[in-house]
């Protein structure tokens, strides 16, 4: 209140307004849109350009190929993207800290391989116990690497590069010691884990889940907004809240509608939302919650921008960084489980070295910064979708892997260039 009515002569210069979120300035819809427009021109556009880019790519492919915009292909595309999205979310923890973790691919695979080996014959553990042990292994590996990075003050690049090699070795060792592994393949023998990607919920369940989520989201938003308003704090205009809600509901409805159409053949119809989509959603919400609403998340952003400021604020920097690396590896484990579920097995030829690069690319294409301190879970989600769309669409056009790789590289370069250029323009102090 007092802030918004501040003396005009000393208010911030107009071009500095671009770094403000529109909802902290605007009281009405037109104001909001104006502030938003200003932000976009100033390079603080958030997720918009990437969403527009995604739409453009999709339109291009749907014009070029008749099979791109079929529900079969769209659902397939979503399912393909989930592994890289989750791996990107793992990498996000490192990127926020202004670090990098090159080992996420193989660390995740080690965890998933342990879990699958324990669940299948001859061990035959109950599925959740195997999963817990596998994911705990990932968490410990991450904590171990994080400890080396923080205590011995070795750059994360080097430690996780060693991890990239070392954990691949451990992965091979897991395959060698598992008597159930035949020819370097551990099969997913449990129906629940197999159904994570291959299985779908019923059509009705999809709609019920969507309605429940939208209602929950609406209630949370309205409660929070009205509480802030009651305390005299700034809130986004009601129209914006309603528009956001409407957009979320519409997007969800389109998604469920597409998933609920028959994507099998006439004799064996397949329909419904694949379980992996709500699974990714759960990980997304959990990570968003941790980053935005807890001290741990706040400190991770602080350390990413200025470790010195964080240290002087009394934050235990080494501990926070170690926990972040552990969470990074844990999320990678979840990603690898999704990978195994999709392929029905995990093999000794798992290409963790390439996947980690896709993970970094997904986070950065989506809008997370390589320079630390910026990035939200929605960024790897969007970036992962872009990569999956490119791979999927180019494959439909019968373009070779060579062409796909080059196209992905070009998109990555453009995304990083846009990020660096716009950031330099709008945030001179932010270090790029």
């Amino acid at each position: 209140m007092t802030e918004t009515e501040s003396t005009p002569e000393s208010a911030i210069a107009p071009d500095e307004l671009v770094v403000l979120a529109p909802d902290v300035l605007a009281d009405s819809l037109p104001d909001y849109l104006r502030a938003w427009g200003k932000r976009i021109r100033g390079g603080e556009s958030g997720a918009l350009p990437i969403i527009v880019g995604l739409l453009v790519i999709s339109i291009f492919f749907s014009v070029k190929s008749n099979s791109f915009l079929t529900s079969t292909n769209i659902v397939n595309l979503f399912v393909q993207s989930t592994f890289i999205i989750l791996l990107g979310m793992a990498e996000l923890y490192a990127l926020i800290l202004s670090e990098i973790d090159l080992s996420v691919g193989f660390v995740g695979a080690v965890g998933a391989a342990i879990a699958m080996a324990l669940i299948s014959a001859p061990q035959n553990w109950v599925w959740w116990a195997g999963l817990i042990v596998g994911m705990a292994a990932c968490f410990l590996i991450g904590a171990f690497q994080g400890t080396i990075i923080t205590r011995l003050r070795i750059p994360s690049f080097v430690v996780t590069l060693a991890g990239l090699l070392g954990w691949q070795g451990v992965l091979i060792y897991v395959f060698d010691s598992d008597k159930g592994a035949v020819g370097g393949v551990i099969t997913v023998s449990n129906n629940i884990i197999d159904d994570l990607v291959s299985g779908s919920m019923t059509k009705a369940a999809g709609w019920i889940l969507l309605v429940a989520l939208v209602v929950l989201y609406a209630i949370i938003t309205i409660v929070r907004t009205s509480r802030r308003r009651a305390q005299g704090l700034t809130t986004p205009p009601l129209s914006i809240t309603l528009l956001t809600l409407g957009a979320v509901a519409l997007a969800g409805a389109v998604l469920v509608f597409i998933c609920n159409r028959n994507r099998g053949i006439a004799t064996a119809p397949v329909s419904g939302v694949p379980w992996v989509i709500p699974f990714v959603l759960v990980v997304l919400v959990a990570q968003s919650f941790l980053l935005a609403r807890t001290r741990l998340g706040r400190y991770m952003y602080a350390i990413g921008a200025s470790p010195e400021a964080a240290r002087r604020a009394g934050i235990h920097v080494a501990r926070i960084r170690t926990v972040a690396f552990a969470l990074c590896s844990l999320t990678a484990g979840l990603a690898a489980v999704v990978y195994a579920s999709r392929l029905g097995s995990i093999t000794i030829g798992f290409d963790g070295g390439t996947y980690v690069l896709y993970a970094v690319a997904a986070a950065v294409i989506g809008g997370a910064s390589l320079f630390g301190g910026y990035g939200k879970p929605i960024h790897p989600l969007l970036g992962g979708l872009v990569i999956a769309t490119l791979n999927n669409g180019l494959a439909l056009l019968n373009i070779t892997t060579a062409g796909t790789d080059i196209a992905t590289a070009a998109v990555l370069l453009v995304a990083v260039a846009v990020d660096a250029t716009l950031r330099r323009r709008s945030r001179p102090g932010a270090g790029g």
Binding site: A11, E16, V19, A302, S306, G373, G429
Partner: protein, 253 residues
């Protein structure tokens, strides 16, 4: 110091780094609720003095008294826990966090284990209003968007928020333009008006005369003059800062 016990007192503090005598037998008194300027040329020992007070290192010799009691600061946390906050030139703010987040960094309020944003935002707003910081458009903007003076204001408000009894400011106006310098000096006056003692480290004499109640001058690691600001004029201070003595005054040694 006629008016009651000092808030902070250094008695015979020396600091030796290898062969270098950075401080020798420094006596320094800081009264509560006043602005004490610590002046001196580059290399006179201003930084060493404030780093000793803020607990960054311990004196080689001598004693520190806080509110009349002997204290030993082994770390910055020790100094902070009694109520000493130091604002360094680089301010230690996180550019990507907003004003509220920066003001509460390391001291976040929580509710059911989660960050209590509303409560922090209200408190931050109140503190800034108390300090008459009115040039900030929204306290939810990242500090990257602030001017130098505004950033200084946020750093000061952060100290106030943590209920500091003594705020040490290291060259707060060094990088600022005229208008922003005035903003910061007003802030210092208001801070001491609220009962917080301030040590202003500066070699800008305009600043010193504008806000200081007490002036202490260091020369080559020794405290060469201390006294109420009225006892000094510009020429006297320059004499002390450059030669360690002045023939024109009898300010207490």
């Amino acid at each position: 110091m006629a008016e009651g016990a000092p808030l902070l007192e250094l008695r015979g503090v020396s600091k030796v780094f290898g062969a270098v005598q950075a401080l020798s037998g420094v006596n320094f008194t800081v009264p509560p609720g006043k602005v004490t300027a610590l002046a001196g040329d580059n290399g006179a020992g201003k930084s060493v003095t404030i780093k000793t007070i803020s607990g960054l290192w311990e004196p080689s010799e001598g004693e520190i008294y806080w509110e009349g009691e002997r204290v030993r600061f082994h770390s910055p946390n020790d100094a902070e826990s009694v109520g000493i906050t130091t604002i360094y030139q680089d301010l230690a703010l996180c550019d990507n966090l907003d004003i509220v987040q920066n003001m509460f960094l390391g001291h976040e309020r929580r509710r059911y284990g989660l960050l209590d944003e509303s409560s922090m935002e209200l408190a931050a707003r109140q503190t800034l209003a108390d300090l008459h910081v009115t040039t900030i458009r929204s306290i939810r903007q990242p500090v990257a968007s602030l001017s130098g003076g505004q950033r200084q204001s946020v750093a000061v408000a952060k100290a106030v928020m943590q209920e500091a009894k003594l705020v040490i400011m290291d060259e707060p106006t060094a990088a600022l333009g005229v208008a922003q310098t005035k903003q910061v000096l007003d802030l210092i006056t208001r801070l001491s008006g609220q009962g917080t003692a301030v040590i202003l480290v500066s070699h800008n004499l305009n600043d010193v005369f504008e806000v200081a109640d007490q002036i202490s001058i260091l020369y080559l690691g020794q405290m060469v003059a201390s006294g109420p600001a009225e006892e000094f004029d510009r020429q006297v201070i320059v004499d002390y800062m450059t030669t360690g003595q002045s023939s024109r005054t009898e300010a207490t040694r």
